[in-house]
């Protein structure tokens, strides 16, 4: 049973790479040299590994955020919005507060987490707890609000740095996570990932709150019978999930970007969903799944440069992984049907 659980995500990855290879071949490239370039570009040198870890870090933390909400039976699709709120608040405090280094780092990280938590718990959480509003819709809508809020703040809003470029002021040195490998963007923030994974695992599997969240996730009616108050479970699950997503934003700003740019994408929160799915919501699996996506993203450029394969092929591989991870649900359903019961 447990073996099968692990087998399927691995199989999904293998099939995805096989399909990607076929496509590469069909378009007249050599799949082996393409994948060779992908691997050496992502894992082949200290620099490559640092870039891979840098790319994986925000996915690790947003993946944990999504996994925690999924385990609680809530679909926090809006980790992106909470990520941006965390980023905005961390940047704001990072350039405006004057504090000694360790304290400044701590304040910015915690404030980012708190901002993400409130963004998820306040409107989507309360609306779900008291009015039954579907959190898929509300967290998604809150993501648009967060993105546009970010644009406003740095495009003529209060956070725009002097000048015409739509960007915020640079963080003060005291709010920047120290660099780990010089010449790369990898910061000490990477150490947060295993720590957060361990904390998430401990919370879910070893604490009273975590057990309440999990039984609410598996079976809300049994949770009621066990005496879990749904309002508490919903607010805690969305709040904690949002806190992780917000923390991801803060870590990214303080470790890599060092300021808010106008060009920010919103994809980390969404890719976090795929990471959580691939990891079957296991916190340690999230680290591995995020690492895979880090490899794909950091190796894509090398693949294009060295093997001449367009890096959009990597999007295809990601898509096929998602497809097969999702297809597993379908397989289980079919097995149940054909198995039947007497």
């Amino acid at each position: 049973m447990r073996g099968v659980r692990l087998l399927w995500p691995l199989l999904a990855i293998l099939i995805a790479f096989a399909v990607g290879g076929l496509l590469t071949w069909a378009f007249g490239h050599d799949p082996f040299s393409a994948y060779g370039a992908l691997i050496s570009g992502s894992l082949g040198s200290g620099y490559a590994i640092s870039t891979t870890l840098t790319d994986a870090l925000p996915l690790m933390i947003t993946g944990l955020a999504v996994a925690l909400s999924f385990q609680s039976g809530l679909f926090n699709i809006g980790a992106s919005g909470q990520y941006w709120l965390g980023a905005i608040v961390a940047v704001w405090l990072g350039y405006s507060l004057k504090l000694p280094t360790p304290l400044h780092l701590l304040v910015c990280l915690l404030a980012g987490a708190l901002a993400g938590a409130l963004w998820a718990a306040l409107i989507p959480g309360l609306a779900k707890a008291f009015r039954g509003a579907n959190e898929v819709i509300t967290t998604l809508m809150m993501t648009y609000v967060a993105t546009y809020l970010g644009h406003y703040l740095i495009e003529g809003g209060p956070m725009q740095a002097p000048g015409y470029t739509p960007q915020s002021p640079h963080l003060l040195p005291s709010a920047i996570l120290p660099n780990l490998v010089s010449g790369t963007q990898l910061s000490v923030g990477i150490f947060l990932a295993p720590l957060l994974a361990a904390l998430t695992w401990f919370l879910l599997s070893r604490t009273r709150l975590g057990f309440s969240l999990r039984i609410s996730g598996y079976n809300p009616r049994a949770a009621r019978y066990a005496g879990v108050r749904p309002v508490v479970a919903i607010l805690a699950a969305l709040g904690l999930s949002g806190a992780l997503a917000g923390l991801a934003g803060a870590v990214q700003m303080m470790g890599v970007d060092h300021r808010l740019f106008d060009s920010f994408g919103t994809s980390y929160g969404y890719t976090g969903i795929v990471v959580a799915l691939l990891a079957r919501n296991n916190p340690f699996g999230v680290l591995l799944a995020a690492l895979l996506f880090g490899v794909l993203s950091s190796g894509a450029n090398a693949m294009q440069i060295n093997a001449g394969v367009p890096f959009h092929l990597v999007d295809v591989i990601q898509g096929v992984i998602i497809f097969f991870v999702a297809a597993e649900g379908l397989m289980r359903y079919l097995r149940l049907r054909s198995g039947g019961n007497s």
Binding site: R206, R208, F211, Y218, A222, Y225, A226, N341, S342
Partner: protein, 494 residues
């Protein structure tokens, strides 16, 4: 007389499990043939094979001497085989005639000729004693009438062989009697009936022959009037069973007292359950049983007073009620009582994980859970005896053992149990009964909410009848009769 249906060496496997093992079976024209067996004995698999829902691995079936291999229920219907499932397959928003015609509508131009359906239905209804208004909406019909619609649907499609899967499970005694009358009418008109049941008295009342299945094998086909309930029970479970022994009651003070209880779809009503007593709440499904459970459990808001050993429960929440000594075995063990994907160990801690010794300052004491589970699994003989197995992997009887073990481990003063043996086989039911009687002997109060009159008469000291959310009266079980209780279940005052 040559057989209508001949089944030879029929076998069906699911993975390593042989659900049906070289089964031989004959059905004569106009015969009512009962199929008896515990849950998991293979009854449903057998019928699903005959109805084209499953394909056999080996063996043969012939219908009127011709090989019969239905690939889908459609083939079965075309061959003249009809099946009425336990859960009806009707569309509540449509009328009786529309439901009957669905999938086989007579056309008239671009429309449907419902008039001809209604006319044909009236003829069939008269012929088979199945009166029902063709223009009534199914949503407005009682369970008994819905079942008639299902049967009429089969006859409308010219069924000559009718499979009834536990047809009386949801019926009142009166409705069951009407069904039996109808089945005898089918028989007179040459219709063959396979009647699945685990109620021995019904098998005796209705069938000419009875085939007993155990673990996928036919253990005997007997002529009904040459056998006895004891023999059938023994064949079914493989050993002889004694009815539960209920020593005379010596009730003490009231442990559960309910006054003017009112909630959505319930009450006002009041009753007492005394120490050392089992009070049964009888009633047709959907007459307020779930509202009563929810109000007692603290799941829903209610008015009125509930006193547990003299202490008002008031607005206490689910956990506070449990800690005050209120145990609860919910009606639906899979939806309410268990978290199926979680291991037995976690399910045994489900109602008390928030407090010592299950957890300390917010952190779970999993080693304690494991030893606690180990003890209960052994004490309640849960099979497989594996605390790590997910609850979903257990049979219904063993799932119920887990629920019972958990509730009894909390040593409740009052245990509310709802339909504790629904879907359980005889062996597992006996186990549940013995645990409830143990509780009674230990001077606790048991409130038994049940749809099963056999169960109620076997266990209860007093019987209260719930009808449309109100109690129609309470009678001591010694002086109660099935007919009397049945009438109260239909809304007549005691």
């Amino acid at each position: 007389m040559s057989a209508l249906l001949e089944v030879r060496q029929l076998t069906k496997r699911f993975g390593t499990l042989t659900a049906l093992d070289h089964v031989d079976f004959d059905l004569l024209p106009g015969e009512v043939h009962a199929l008896l067996g515990e849950n998991g004995a293979g009854k449903s698999t057998f019928m699903n094979l005959l109805y084209g829902l499953l394909r056999p691995d080996s063996g043969s079936v012939s219908l009127e001497g011709v090989s019969y291999q239905p690939a889908s229920p459609k083939d079965a219907v075309l061959a003249g085989v009809g099946m009425v499932h336990q859960h009806f397959m009707l569309i509540p928003a449509l009328t009786v005639a529309e439901n009957v015609a669905l999938g086989d509508e007579p056309r008239r131009g671009f429309g449907i000729d419902l008039g001809s359906v209604e006319k044909k239905l009236a003829e069939l209804a008269a012929e088979y004693h199945l009166e029902v208004n063709p223009r009534a909406k199914v949503a407005d019909l009682s369970v008994g009438l819905r079942q008639r619609v299902e049967i009429l649907k089969a006859f409308y499609r010219r069924a000559r062989l009718l499979i009834l899967d536990e047809p009386t499970a949801l019926l009142t005694p009166q409705e069951s009697q009407q069904l039996f009358r109808a089945v005898r009418a089918f028989q007179e008109r040459g219709i063959s009936v396979i009647f699945i049941s685990h109620k021995l008295d019904e098998v005796q009342a209705l069938s000419g022959r009875v085939t007993v299945l155990r673990r996928g094998q036919v253990v005997g086909t007997l002529t009904t009037d040459q056998t006895s309930p004891a023999e059938l029970a023994r064949l079914m479970v493989g050993r002889s069973l004694a009815p539960p022994v209920r020593p005379p009651s010596r009730p003490g003070p009231a442990l559960l007292e309910v006054r003017d209880l009112q909630a959505q779809g319930l009450g006002p009503l009041g009753f007492q359950v005394r120490a050392g007593e089992i009070l049964a709440v009888a009633g047709v499904e959907g007459n307020g049983q779930e509202a009563l459970i929810a109000a007692l459990a603290g799941w829903s808001r209610s008015q009125g007073e509930v006193l547990l050993d003299g202490r008002p429960l008031g607005r206490l929440g689910v956990r506070a009620r449990a800690e005050a000594g209120l145990g609860l075995v919910p009606s639906d063990r899979q939806e309410d009582g268990l978290v199926l994907p979680l291991p037995v160990r976690d399910n045994l801690a489900l109602r008390a994980y928030h407090r010592p010794p299950y957890s300390h300052s917010g952190v779970l004491d999993l080693p304690y859970w494991a030893t606690h589970a180990e003890t209960l699994v052994r004490e309640f003989d849960v099979r497989p005896p594996d605390r790590r197995a997910p609850a979903a992997a257990l049979s219904g009887g063993n799932q119920q053992k887990v629920v019972l073990a958990r509730e009894l481990a909390a040593s409740p003063k009052v245990l509310v149990v709802s339909q504790p043996t629904r879907g359980l086989d005889i062996g597992a039911s006996q186990f549940v009964y013995s645990k409830l009687l143990d509780l009674r002997a230990a001077g606790k109060a048991v409130l038994l909410v049940s749809l099963d009159l056999d169960e109620i008469f076997a266990l209860a000291d007093r019987i209260a009848v719930l009808y449309r959310g109100r109690l129609m009266g309470t009678v001591p079980s010694e002086s109660a009769t099935r007919e009397g209780i049945g009438l109260m279940m239909l809304g007549q005052e005691a």
